[in-house]
C-alpha cells in the first residue's frame, strides 16, 4: 500500500456540492468567481483556512494558489489561523459606538477574559473587532461564526448568549 504522506486535504461531498452550486452561477470559463463562496464553504467545514485547504480550493477552481491566498487575506471574515468554536465579531465603528457598542465590547472582553483577536483557553470563544456590518440601527451588533447576526446586544443578552454557546 502506498501510504499517503499527509492526510488527504479534500472537502466533504456536501461541501463540494455547495461549491459546485456556486460555480454554476458564473460563466463556465469564470470558475474563479466562485472562490469566495468556495473559501467560505471550506472555512465552514474546517473551521479555518489552512494552506492545504487553500491549495485544495486553488486546484478545485483551477487557480494559482497565490491568487487564492490573495483573496483569503483580503477579506476579513476568512480566518487563516484556528479560531474558537464561536467566533464573535463585534462592530465598534462610530455609529455603533454611539449606541453602546464600545461598552458591549468592553463587557465581552471582561466576560470572556480575552482581548480582540484572542481565543479563550478552552477554545470556546474568539473575539474580533469588526467594521461596519450594515446594521448600525440595531447596535450593538455581533456576528457569530460569520453567519449569524445578533442585534441590540445589551449586557443581559450577552450574558444569555455566552451561557447558551457551548
Amino acid at each position: 500500500m502506498n501510504a499517503p504522506a499527509v492526510a488527504i486535504i479534500g472537502l466533504s461531498p456536501e461541501s463540494l456540492a455547495k461549491i459546485d452550486k456556486a460555480v454554476a452561477k458564473y460563466p463556465p470559463q469564470e470558475k474563479q468567481s466562485a472562490v469566495m463562496a468556495a473559501l467560505t464553504v471550506a472555512q465552514d467545514e474546517k473551521g479555518w483556512l489552512s494552506t492545504e485547504t487553500m491549495d485544495f480550493v486553488a486546484q478545485y477552481l483551477d487557480m494559482p494558489p497565490v491568487a487564492v491566498y490573495e483573496v483569503a487575506t483580503f477579506y476579513t471574515m476568512y480566518d487563516l489561523k484556528p479560531v474558537g468554536r464561536h467566533k464573535l465579531t463585534i462592530c465598534t465603528n462610530l455609529p455603533c459606538a454611539l449606541q453602546g457598542a464600545t461598552n458591549a465590547a468592553e463587557y465581552l472582553k471582561q466576560k470572556l477574559g480575552i482581548g480582540f483577536g484572542e481565543t479563550t483557553p478552552d477554545g470556546r470563544f474568539t473575539l474580533k473587532e469588526g467594521e461596519c456590518m450594515g446594521a448600525c440601527g440595531d447596535a450593538p451588533v455581533l456576528i457569530r461564526n460569520n453567519k449569524q447576526m445578533l442585534c441590540a446586544m445589551s449586557n443581559e443578552k450577552i450574558d444569555k448568549l455566552i451561557g447558551e454557546l457551548k
Binding site: 502506498n2 499527509v6 494558489p65 497565490v66 491566498y69
Partner: protein
C-alpha cells in the same frame, strides 16, 4: 485616426489609444513613474506619474489616462509637481531609507526620484512599517520592507512568465508581496523581476553584497546558451564578471533574459576553471607551457595521421562554440586530410545529411514568431529549451494564436494550448503523419510524394484531426521542430513530415535552434560533408566506430553526446585525446592533453542565432590565467601543423573568412531535397524520454551553483505513470535501477500520470545518467527497495 496633444507646450500627434505616458515618451519628456512598465499591464497604483491636464479638476496619472484629441498636458506645472512630491513623500514614509546597505543603491528608481521630488527632511514621525522577509529561492534575494507595492513583479508573473508565483496579500498598509506559503519562485524567467523591481526589495541573490553599481563597467555581449542569442550587458569589476543583465533588443529578447542567461555567469569564476595547459606524462598530469602543449598536440596528430591515416582523426565541438572557433576547427581537421568534424552531438539520426538545402533554422525571424496565429510545436520542452520563444507564443496565445503541441511529455507550458497529442517517442512519427494526413484531407490537397508512404498507412486519431483542423484554418501558420524532435532517432522523418505539413497548409516550418551557434556550425561547415563524397564520420559514428585521435572543443562527451556510454568508451580507447575546454572535467580520466580555452567572456566571437542573425561580441575580461581564446589556439595549431591559411590576425579576420564581409542575416533554406531513408524502430517495450535539463545543457550553466540549486537543477529522477510504477511494484522511498545499452543508473522515481504508457522520463546530460547508453537501445527497469519512509 491620430490624436493631437500638447505636452509642456510641445505639440504632437499620437495614435488613437495612446496614453499620456505614451505621448510623453514620444515627445521625449520624462514623467516620473514606478508601477508603469511598457511591457506590463497598466496598474496606475504608484501615482507618481500624476500630471496636470487642462480642464481636469485633479491631477491624472499619465500612465493610465487616454489621450483625447486636443488635450493639453503639463507635466511640470505647480499642480503636477505638487502631486508628484506628495506621492514621493508617501512612498518614503514607510521606506527604510537604508540605501547605504542596499544592493539597489546607485541604480534605484526611488533613490533617483527622491533626489528630484523628495523633501529634504521627512515630516513623518510615526513608527515605520516592518515587513517580514520572504524566501524566494536561490536566485532572488528579498528585503520586503523596501517594497513600494508597485506590483510589477506580480504582473510580470501573471502576464509574462505565465505563472502567478508572486502575489500581493493582505490589504491597506499591511499589503505585502509573497509567494504561496513556503514555495520558491521556479519560473525560468524569474530573474527579470530583479530588473523590474524599482527599489531594492528584489535583488539578485548571487550578486548580493558583491559590488556597488558604480564600481562596475558595463560591456555588451551575446548569450552563449540557447538558440535565441539574447543580448546581454555584462558588468565587470576587477576583471571579473559580476553580473549579467539584459540588453534591450526588441527583435530578439525584448527587455528580458532567461535565468540561464542571467545567472550562468557565476560559472565563469568557478574554481573548476582550467587555467593552464596540462599534459599527461607517464600517467600523471603536469602543468606545461603552451609551446610544449601545442608542440605535443601537433606532433601526436601528425603521428596518428601517419600511422592510421588521417581518417582516424576526428574533432567534436559543442554548438556553444563561436563561428570563428568552429571554422578554424574544421579547417584544421580538413587540413589534416580528415573530414571527421561535427558539432551535432546529441543528434542520433543523420539521414538528412546531404539531402538538405540550406541549414536547419527557424524558418523566419524571431519577431515573426509573434505574428503566427496557428503553430504546431513538435517535440519541444518549450519553456525550458526556449524560454523567450515560449514567452512570445504565450503573449500571442492570449490573443490570436492557437497553439498545438505534439510531444512525449505534457508539461505545463503556462499558456493556453489549444490541442495536443502526447505520445511515446516511438509513436511521434506516426502521430505527425496523422496530422499530415488530416491536413491534406482538410485542405483537399495531395500528400507530398516524399512522405506519402508513411502517411498513407496511418489512421487519423481525433487529436491529430483537431490539430490539423486548427492549422488548416490559420492565416499565418508554422510548424516547429524542438530539441527533442531534432535529437529523436527518427529526426529526419519528423523533418520530412513537418515540411510536408507546412507545404499542405501553406505555412512555414523551422527548427527551434538548440544552442547559441547551432546555425553557425552549419554555416561554417563544421559538419562532415557527405555530398562532397568525403569518407567521413558524423558525431555518432565517430564514437560508435572509435577513432584513434579526438580533438574535443568544449565537449564533455559523457554529458554532451547522444550516447554517453559509447562516447566515454571511445575516448578511453583512443591514442590521443586533446581536450580544449574552459573547465577541468572528466577528460582528466582519458585525455592526453588539456588546453584551457576562453569562455565567451574572454574572447571575441560570433554566434549565429536560430533566425540566422550573426551577432559578434568582444571579450569583456582578460582570459583567466594562461587561458587563450580557442580561435588563437587553433590558428597556432594550424601553423604548427604547417597548414596553409592560418595567418589571421584577429577574430574579425576569421569571421570575415568564414562568413564574408556581409553582416546581413545568412540566407537560409531548410528544405529536404529528397526522401531520407527510414529508420526502423522497435516501437515496443519500454522507452526512455531523455531530455536535456535546462541547466545541464552546456558547460557554463552546469557549473553555476545558484542555478543548480533551483528546482530545474535538481538531480534527475525517473518519472513514469502510475500504471508502470505499479507494474514495477514501486513504493514511496524506492528507487529504480535503469539499464540501457549495457550501462546502468539508480535514480529516484516520481509518478507523472501525464506521461504515455511504458515510458520513463529520465534526463540525459547528467552525471547520474552518464553511464547509460543511447536512448534508442533496449531499456529495462527494476525496483530498488528503499527504506520505507514514515508518513509525516
Amino acid at each position: 485616426m491620430p490624436l493631437e496633444i500638447e505636452i509642456d507646450g510641445q505639440k504632437l500627434e499620437v495614435p488613437d489609444g495612446s496614453t499620456v505616458m505614451d505621448a510623453a515618451r514620444l515627445a521625449n519628456i520624462y514623467v516620473p513613474h514606478f508601477c508603469y512598465h511598457r511591457k506590463l499591464s497598466i496598474a496606475a497604483n504608484c501615482r507618481m506619474c500624476l500630471v496636470q491636464v487642462e480642464k481636469a479638476p485633479k491631477p491624472l496619472p499619465a500612465c493610465a489616462t487616454p489621450v483625447t484629441n486636443g488635450m493639453k498636458v503639463m507635466t511640470h506645472s505647480d499642480q503636477a509637481v505638487n502631486a508628484q512630491k506628495g506621492v514621493m513623500e508617501f512612498l518614503l514614509i514607510n521606506h527604510p531609507l537604508d540605501c547605504p546597505i542596499c544592493d539597489q543603491g546607485g541604480e534605484c528608481q526611488l533613490q533617483d526620484l527622491a533626489v528630484g521630488y523628495g523633501a529634504s527632511g521627512s515630516q513623518y514621525e510615526e513608527n515605520k512599517r516592518v515587513v517580514v522577509n520572504k524566501n524566494l529561492g536561490p536566485l532572488i534575494s528579498t528585503d520586503m520592507t523596501r517594497c513600494i507595492h508597485c506590483t510589477r513583479c506580480v504582473r510580470f508573473g501573471q502576464e509574462i512568465a505565465g505563472v502567478m508565483e508572486l502575489g500581493m496579500i493582505g490589504r491597506g498598509e499591511h499589503a505585502e508581496i509573497i509567494t504561496f506559503v513556503g514555495k520558491t519562485v521556479d519560473s525560468e524567467l524569474s530573474g527579470n523581476v530583479i530588473d523590474l523591481c524599482p527599489v531594492g526589495a528584489l535583488t539578485s541573490k548571487p550578486f548580493r553584497y558583491s559590488a556597488r553599481t558604480w564600481e562596475l563597467t558595463r560591456k555588451p555581449s551575446i548569450s552563449p546558451h540557447c538558440g535565441l542569442g539574447s543580448n546581454l550587458t555584462l558588468q565587470v569589476k576587477q576583471n571579473r564578471v559580476m553580473r549579467a543583465l539584459p540588453q534591450e533588443n526588441e527583435a530578439i529578447n525584448e527587455c528580458w533574459i532567461s535565468d540561464k542567461d542571467r545567472f550562468s555567469y557565476e560559472a565563469l569564476n568557478s574554481d573548476q576553471r582550467l587555467a593552464r595547459p596540462m599534459l599527461k606524462q607517464s600517467g600523471a598530469w603536469k602543468t606545461v607551457d603552451w609551446q610544449t602543449a601545442l608542440d605535443f598536440v601537433a606532433k601526436e596528430l601528425k603521428r596518428v595521421a601517419a600511422a592510421h591515416g588521417p581518417q582516424s582523426i576526428g574533432a567534436l565541438a559543442t554548438p556553444h562554440q563561436t563561428v570563428e572557433e568552429l571554422h578554424l576547427l574544421q579547417k584544421v581537421v580538413r587540413g589534416l586530410g580528415s573530414g571527421n568534424v561535427d558539432f551535432r552531438l546529441r543528434q542520433s539520426d543523420f539521414n538528412a545529411d546531404g539531402k538538405l538545402a540550406g541549414v536547419p533554422w527557424l524558418g523566419m525571424s524571431i519577431t515573426e514568431v509573434s505574428q503566427l496565429d496557428r503553430v504546431l510545436v513538435v517535440g519541444s520542452t518549450l519553456r525550458k529549451d526556449h524560454p523567450l520563444i515560449a514567452h512570445r507564443l504565450r503573449q500571442s496565445a492570449k490573443r490570436f494564436l492557437k497553439l498545438s503541441v505534439l510531444h512525449a511529455v505534457d508539461d505545463e507550458l503556462l499558456m493556453r494550448v489549444a490541442h495536443k497529442s502526447i505520445v511515446a517517442p516511438a509513436a511521434m512519427v506516426d502521430a505527425l503523419a496523422q496530422v499530415v494526413k488530416a491536413a491534406a484531407a482538410a485542405r483537399n490537397s495531395a500528400v507530398p510524394e516524399m512522405v506519402l508512404a508513411v502517411v498513407e498507412k496511418t489512421q487519423v486519431t481525433e487529436s491529430a484531426q483537431r490539430i490539423a483542423a486548427s492549422l488548416a484554418d490559420g492565416k499565418n501558420v508554422a510548424v516547429f521542430l524542438g530539441n527533442f524532435a531534432q535529437h529523436h532517432v527518427q529526426a529526419s522523418q519528423l523533418h520530412a513530415l513537418a515540411q510536408a505539413l507546412a507545404e499542405i497548409i501553406g505555412g512555414r516550418f523551422g527548427f527551434l535552434g538548440e544552442a547559441a551557434n547551432s546555425v553557425g556550425g552549419h554555416v561554417v561547415n563544421a559538419v562532415p560533408m557527405i555530398n562532397k563524397s568525403e569518407n567521413v564520420a558524423n558525431a555518432a559514428q565517430m564514437v560508435a566506430n572509435p577513432l584513434k585521435a579526438y580533438v574535443l572543443l568544449g565537449v564533455e562527451p559523457e554529458l554532451d553526446m547522444h550516447d554517453p556510454r559509447q562516447a566515454i568508451a571511445a575516448m578511453k580507447q583512443a591514442e590521443l585525446v586533446v581536450a580544449m575546454s574552459a573547465y577541468q572535467h572528466k577528460a582528466v580520466d582519458y585525455a592526453h592533453v588539456l588546453l584551457p580555452i576562453s569562455p565567451f567572456t574572454e574572447t571575441a566571437g560570433t554566434f549565429i542565432n536560430t533566425e540566422g542573425r550573426a551577432q559578434s561580441f568582444q571579450g569583456v575580461v582578460q582570459p583567466l590565467g594562461e587561458t587563450r581564446p580557442a580561435w588563437k589556439v587553433l590558428r597556432v595549431l594550424g601553423n604548427l601543423l604547417n597548414l596553409s591559411g592560418f595567418d589571421q590576425q584577429s577574430a574579425d579576420d576569421v569571421r570575415v573568412e568564414a562568413l564574408g564581409k556581409e553582416e546581413k542575416i545568412v540566407n537560409k533554406n531548410n528544405y529536404l531535397l529528397s526522401l531520407p531513408a527510414r529508420e526502423t524502430t522497435s516501437g515496443s517495450g519500454l522507452q526512455r524520454i531523455d531530455e536535456t535539463p535546462i541547466y545541464s545543457a552546456d558547460a557554463i550553466a552546469r557549473r553555476a551553483p545558484s542555478l543548480q540549486k533551483t528546482r530545474d537543477g535538481q538531480p534527475p529522477v525517473a518519472s513514469m505513470n502510475r500504471v508502470l510504477a505499479d507494474k514495477l511494484g514501486l513504493r514511496d522511498g524506492d528507487s529504480v535501477r535503469v539499464r540501457q545499452g549495457g550501462g546502468e543508473a539508480v535514480v529516484a522515481y516520481a509518478v507523472d500520470d501525464k506521461l504515455p504508457g511504458d515510458c520513463i522520463r529520465l534526463a540525459t546530460a547528467c552525471e547520474e545518467t552518464a553511464a547509460l547508453g543511447a536512448t534508442s537501445t533496449e531499456l529495462t527497469l527494476e525496483r530498488v527497495a528503499g527504506q520505507q519512509k514514515v508518513a509525516v
